[in-house]
Each structure stands twice: as C-alpha cells, then as structure tokens.
C-alpha cells in the first residue's frame, strides 16, 4: 500500500513536470492524464468499482483532450517562468509536504497519520502549487484547462487525505466531474485551435479594442 502511494506520488510529480515543461501539446496532455490517473491512488480509495470508474473517467477526459491536439501539432504557449522554475516550485512544495506532513496532518486529519498519508499530502501540495500557477499565469488555453482540472483534483485529494475514502456514490460523482471538466476543456481547446490555429491566449493586435 505504501509502495503504491509512493509510486502514485512519483507519477503525479512526473505528470506535473511534463505538463509544465512541455512545448508540445500532446506531451502536456499525456502529463495531465498521468496526474489524473495517479491522483486517486494517493489517498485511500473506496470500492474497486468506484476506483475503476474514476480511472475510466480520467482516461476518457484525457482522450477528449488528446483528440483535439493529436493531429494538429499545436504549439503551446511559453510557460510564464520558463517551465524549469515552475517544476522547482512543485518539487519544493512536495518536499515541504513530506517534511512537515506529520505535523500538518496531526491536527486536521480524521485518519491516522501514516507514510501513505504523508506521501499523499506531499503530492497534494504539489498539485495545488501547479494548479495555482496554471490557473493564474498560464499563457495558453490547454494549460488553463489543465489548471482547472488540477484545482478540482486538489480539492478531491484534500478531502481524501483529511477525511478518508469516499463511498461508491462519491467515486461516481467525482468521475462525472472529471468527465465534465474534460468535456468543457476539450471544447475550449478545440474552439481555440479552430479560431486561432494555436493555443495562445494573449490578445492579438486586431483583438485589442482601439488597436
């Protein structure tokens, strides 16, 4: 169980690094998919059926985004801080979570503090930093969509870490949420590519009022 959680935390970090550093949209989508697949394994999971539904919904959300970017060779916007610095921030957040995790979890968590929950907290903090970075500072639509999905993953991971595994209805609700977010994200990225031919969100000169 601890090995699984450690592997999931590592998967989350790798996925985030790919998402933040990639210059190819396809690699960024694969990184996001890896995060979505690994995140449910961080914290206690409910029934196998519920976990299966979550995995399927994560794969479907990733596929919806993949369909939009797979053929186009769509260029991504440049990360606000270059990518490498952002990766350093998420690694720092994960290390902070790993070091201070037992103290942080001793208060609020309603489940016992274990190495698994500490690894989950470390990965959750990394997801939080990445989500904030992507939602606030990203320069392309795909990373903004990824930021939205990561923000929701952060809420879910925090809930699991602090309050334990949800029942089947919770897994079902979460799966539907990931699927819905993937759908709106794919529509948004597709419309962006159709309108501009790239994923950049900065206004072009003719789109600026008065220009």
């Amino acid at each position: 169980m601890e090995a699984l959680a450690a592997g999931a935390a590592l998967g989350v970090l790798l996925g985030l690094a790919a998402l933040l550093r990639a210059s190819d949209a396809r690699l960024a989508v694969l990184g996001l998919g890896l995060v979505l697949l690994a995140a449910p394994l961080l914290a206690p999971t409910g029934s196998p059926g519920g976990l299966g539904f979550r995995v399927v919904s994560a794969i479907m959300a990733t596929f919806l985004l993949w369909r939009v970017v797979r053929d186009a060779g769509v260029p991504l916007g440049r990360p606000a801080l270059g990518g490498t610095l952002e990766i350093a921030f998420i690694v720092l957040a994960a290390m902070l979570g790993a070091v201070a995790g037992p103290d942080l979890l001793a208060g609020p968590a309603s489940t016992p503090v274990t190495p698994t929950s500490v690894a989950a907290l470390a990965a959750t903090l990394a997801i939080g930093v990445a989500a904030a970075d992507l939602l606030l500072f990203s320069t392309d639509a795909l990373r903004q969509v990824a930021g939205a999905l990561l923000a929701l993953s952060l809420g879910d991971a925090a809930l699991r870490t602090l309050a334990g595994a949800p029942p089947a209805t919770g897994e079902l609700a979460w799966g539907l949420l990931v699927l819905a977010a993937g759908l709106v994200g794919a529509r948004l990225v597709g419309a962006q590519v159709a309108a501009r031919g790239d994923l950049g969100i900065a206004a072009r000169p003719h789109e600026v009022p008065g220009a």
């Binding site: 409910g46 208060g107 809930l159 819905a180 709106v184 419309a191």
Partner: protein, 557 residues
C-alpha cells in the same frame, strides 16, 4: 425512478448534441416533457439505495426539478416564438447541466453534491464554448472560476468538520475557503465580472449558468452548513462578518447597477446576483431557521429571474435593441403583448418582493437578519433599487413610443454602439449572414402583408401621408369594423358601441403575432408568483428538506 429525470435529460442532451439541427427542433421540448412525466411519476419517500448512502427524492427536490424543467421549456418557447431559436449545442449543454442537478441535490453527502453541481456547471458551459476571441476568453474565465469555487468548497468541507471533531486552528482557513467558493460561484462583488459578461452574452443560457446551477451549488452546501457552522467561534465569527459584508455590498451595488444600466441583459444579470447574494447570507448565520428561508428563496428567486431574462430576450428579439432608452414605448406599440409583458413584470416584482405575511417577504427578512446590524439593514434596503429597476423598465414601456419602434424600421448602423453577439446562437459555417431586422411576421406593425382587399387598398392609399405602420393600423381598424359590421347592424345604442370596441380589440389581438411568446414569459412569471403565494407548498418543502449526511471522522464528508 429517481434516476429517470437525469436519465431523460441526459439522453435528450446527448441527442441534441449529436442530431442535426433541423431534426432536433423538437428534441428539447420532448426531453423536458419526458423529464416532467418522470418527476410526476416519482413516488415520494422511496430512496434509491446505493453503496454508502442513498439518494432521496424530497418534495423540495421534486419542486426544484419541476421548476427547472418548466423554466427551461418556457425560455426555449419564448426564444423560438420570438424568432431567435437557440442552437442545439447550447440546449444540449443546458439540459445536461440540469440533469446533474437532480443527483446533486439528492446526494447523501455534501462533497458528492458539490462535485455534481460543479459538473453540471461544466457541462452547461461546454455548450456555450465557440470560436471567437471574446467568447473564448469568457469561457476560460468561467471555467477558472468554476474550478476554483469547486476546489475551495471541497477544501472547506474537508476542513470544517462538525463539533467536536473540528480542529479550531483551521477554522479560519476553512472559513476563508468557503467565502472564496461562495464569492466565485455566486458572483459576489468584486468577483462578479464573469457572471455579468455571461448574462450580457447569453440571454437564454444565462439564467441556467448564473442562477440555476449556482443555486444548486448553494443548496448542496446548505445541509453541511447546518451541521458545522452553528457554533460562534471567534475565527468563524470574523469570516461570517466578511461574508455578510460581501453579500450586503453585492445586494446594494447590484441593485444600483441594475437601476443604472441601460443594457437590459445587464439589468437582469445584476438582479440575479443580488438575489443570490441574499441567499448567500445564510452562511453568515448561526441560526438554523435561516436554512429553510434560504432554500425557499433560492428556488423562488431563480424562477422569477428566469422570467425576467425571458422578457429581456423577447424585447430584444422584437425590437432589435436591448438598450432601454431605445425601447421607449415597447408596451404601447403592441398593446396586447405589451400588456401581457407588463403583467409578467409586475408578477416577477411581486414574487420577489412579497407582501407582509407572504413567504418571500418573511424569507427576505430572515436572511437579511442573518448578518449583524448595520449590514442587515443594508441588505434589506438593497431591494429598493432593484424594485425601482423593474419600475423603470415598465415606465420606459409606457412612454411615448420611440420613432424606430413605431415606424418599424431599423436604426442606422451608426446610431448606437455595437453590442456583442449572443452566444446562444449556433455558429453558422463560414461568414455569418446579416441578421434580418426587424424579424418578418412579428408584431402588429409587420402584418400589413396579411391585409387583403379593401384594407390593403386603404393602406396603399394612406401610405404617402402616414408612416407604414400607422397606415397599416388604420387599415386594420377599418377591416375590423367591416368584419363586425353585420353583427353590429343588429345592435343599437350602447350594445353596438360595446360590440364595436370588442371586435376591434379581438382583431388587434388576432393580428398581434407576438402574443404567444409573451404568454410564455407570463407562464414563468406566474409560476414565480404562485410559488410566492404558497401554491406548490414551497415553504413546507423547504422546511422539510433534509440536509446532507454529516461528515464523521474516519468517513468521508
């Protein structure tokens, strides 16, 4: 049977998204009809048992879903009858979003309800996404707000456990997360920009996206709030004060904005924000009695504001403008439909204001008192500019008609600044065709083409001296007199005069092609008024609505 409603709505949404537009014209009404039938057949008190919980259909949930289906149907009918049918992708998103409201409100735990309410918002938003710099920017902002609100609400639910399991040192963090979630989802000022831009861009989808789905989000949180926020700790008291201040400011400023704005869509949008902010005040309260008031108010307010949006959509479709100063006399140029719309406006105002002894009146008082003085007074007085905005709309309708409304000719392109296009319209392949204005076959002014025989000759003869519209009106009056001549010949005295006037009125109503659309708006307004007057048992249903199961240590919220 509880799943029949979301199943019907979800299937309808899927078909709307897949079927070509011309084949899918009646898909939405068929979907809504199936959903309503499923609701009416839903046996009360038979929960659907699932692993770890059960979905229960309370009377409140049933009323909510019924009102949502009728509201969407009336909005669709209004838009279609006004000659501006919404695109199928937009309708697919709205139906899909509302499909997820049913399990969101019936979910056994708040986290599940929140997840489903956010998922509903995402599905509804997916229908609105389209190419175009402004539309894409708006969609990105809405998705960002939605995701951030969902994340913060889940964080608050995770951290704010009920007594005695709550670690007090995290109260402030959790409380601030809750305030952030509510501010983003309800569009509390200063985070209202995206909601208003959406209201200005999508008059049909607007009520669903900024009223119905945020209201479902709040309703999903209410049961949890009852369990965790009843104790007045210092940290939570500060957070409550912050939330009350934000809500009170939003109520007042939104009311003032709706009074000051000339754009009708913005007027309706700010009205929605003010009503939702009033419901948001419940989270600043430690009083459990405010919960039922918030539940009742949420449903009533979104139904009434959907009616206002439908009215705005209709006026814009008929007159080609949504700027209030350009709509002077909107109620007088088409007397029958104008009277119906004025009636609808009055019903909306009465439903949201209430009257002493009525439920909405008591709910507003109860919710305003959730905050401390003077915020409670501010929240209460915020209704004044909002009510005046309704009066202003009616007053403009009763003024001397604007020339371009009477003559039924479009304004010159340079006469007014351009307005952004609606996101509700389905994008056409290639360049968009010029929008036909005024829409043919609408209103009492356009049907001059329907006149035949002597009436048409009279209209042609009068045309050089009178404007086209006045000549047509004169010809219609003569035609009406001719049609009733035989009957009137058998009458004399007051009877003849009365028959003459009745016949003229009947003719006017008959040629007023706008009437069915106006009646669709009236249906929505009367539904809101009926709920306010106690029909449907909203107050009782809101009192009986159970909260979500309480979180417990070791088990998920």
């Amino acid at each position: 049977m509880l799943l029949a409603y979301p199943a019907a709505m979800g299937l309808g949404a899927l078909l709307l998204a897949l079927v070509p537009e011309r084949r899918g014209r009646w898909l939405l009404p068929a979907t809504l009809l199936a959903a309503v039938v499923a609701l009416l057949a839903l046996p009360a008190g038979q929960p659907l048992r699932l692993e770890g919980g059960e979905l229960a259909a309370s009377p409140y949930l049933r009323l909510w879903l019924l009102a949502a289906a009728v509201s969407l149907g009336a909005a669709w009918a209004t838009a279609t009858l006004a000659g501006a049918p919404p695109g199928p992708r937009v309708l697919a998103g709205l139906a899909g979003g509302l499909a997820l409201v049913a399990p969101a409100l019936a979910a056994p735990r708040p986290a599940e309800g929140l997840a489903l309410a956010v998922a509903g918002g995402a599905v509804a938003l997916a229908g609105l996404v389209r190419p175009g710099a402004g539309a894409l920017r708006l969609a990105r902002d809405l998705l960002r707000d939605l995701a951030a609100a969902g994340m913060l609400a889940l964080l608050a639910v995770a951290l704010l456990l009920p007594e005695p399991f709550r670690p007090p040192e995290l109260d402030l963090v959790a409380g601030l997360a809750l305030v952030g979630a509510l501010a983003l989802r309800l569009g509390l000022m200063p985070l209202h920009g995206s909601a208003i831009r959406l209201a200005e861009s999508a008059p049909l989808a607007g009520p669903v996206l900024i009223a119905w789905l945020p209201a479902a989000f709040v309703a999903a949180l209410l049961g949890w709030h009852a369990a965790v926020a009843g104790s007045p700790e210092t940290e939570l008291a500060a957070v409550r004060l912050l939330l009350a201040a934000l809500c009170a400011a939003t109520i007042v400023l939104s009311g003032l904005a709706s009074l000051a704005k000339d754009d009708l869509r913005a007027v309706a949008g700010y009205a929605v924000l003010a009503e939702l902010a009033l419901a948001g005040l419940v989270f600043a309260s430690t009083d459990a009695a405010a919960l039922s008031a918030a539940r009742g108010w949420l449903l009533l307010a979104v139904v009434a504001r959907s009616g206002l949006f439908a009215l705005v959509l209709l006026l814009e479709a008929w007159h080609g403008t949504r700027r209030l100063p350009e709509l002077n006399g909107w109620a007088r140029v088409a007397p029958a439909s104008g009277a119906v719309l004025l009636l609808a406006l009055a019903a909306i105002l009465a439903a949201t204001l209430g009257w002493p002894g009525s439920d909405p009146f008591a709910w507003r008082l109860r919710l305003a008192q959730s905050s401390a003085w003077p915020l409670s007074v501010v929240a209460l007085l915020g209704v004044v500019p909002l009510a005046l905005a309704h009066v202003r709309l009616a007053w403009h309708g009763l003024r001397r008609p604007a020339e371009h409304l009477v003559a039924d000719v479009p304004m010159e392109p340079g006469d007014r600044p351009p307005l952004p296009p609606a996101l509700d319209d389905e994008p056409a392949p290639g360049p968009l065709p010029p929008r036909a204005w005024p829409r043919p076959g609408l209103g009492p002014l356009a049907p001059a083409a329907r006149l035949r025989g002597p009436a048409e000759r009279l209209r042609a003869a009068a045309a050089p001296r009178l404007s086209g519209a006045r000549a047509a009106a004169l010809a219609r009056a003569v035609a009406a007199m001719g049609a009733g001549r035989r009957r009137m010949a058998r009458l004399s005295g007051p009877g003849a005069a009365l028959a003459s006037r009745a016949d003229a009125l009947a003719t006017t109503v008959r040629v007023d092609g706008r009437l069915p659309a106006a009646l669709a708006v009236l249906v929505l307004a009367l539904m809101a008024l009926g709920l306010a007057a106690g029909y449907g048992g909203l107050a009782e249903a809101a009192r009986m609505a159970g909260g979500a199961a309480l979180p417990s240590p070791g088990g998920a919220p």
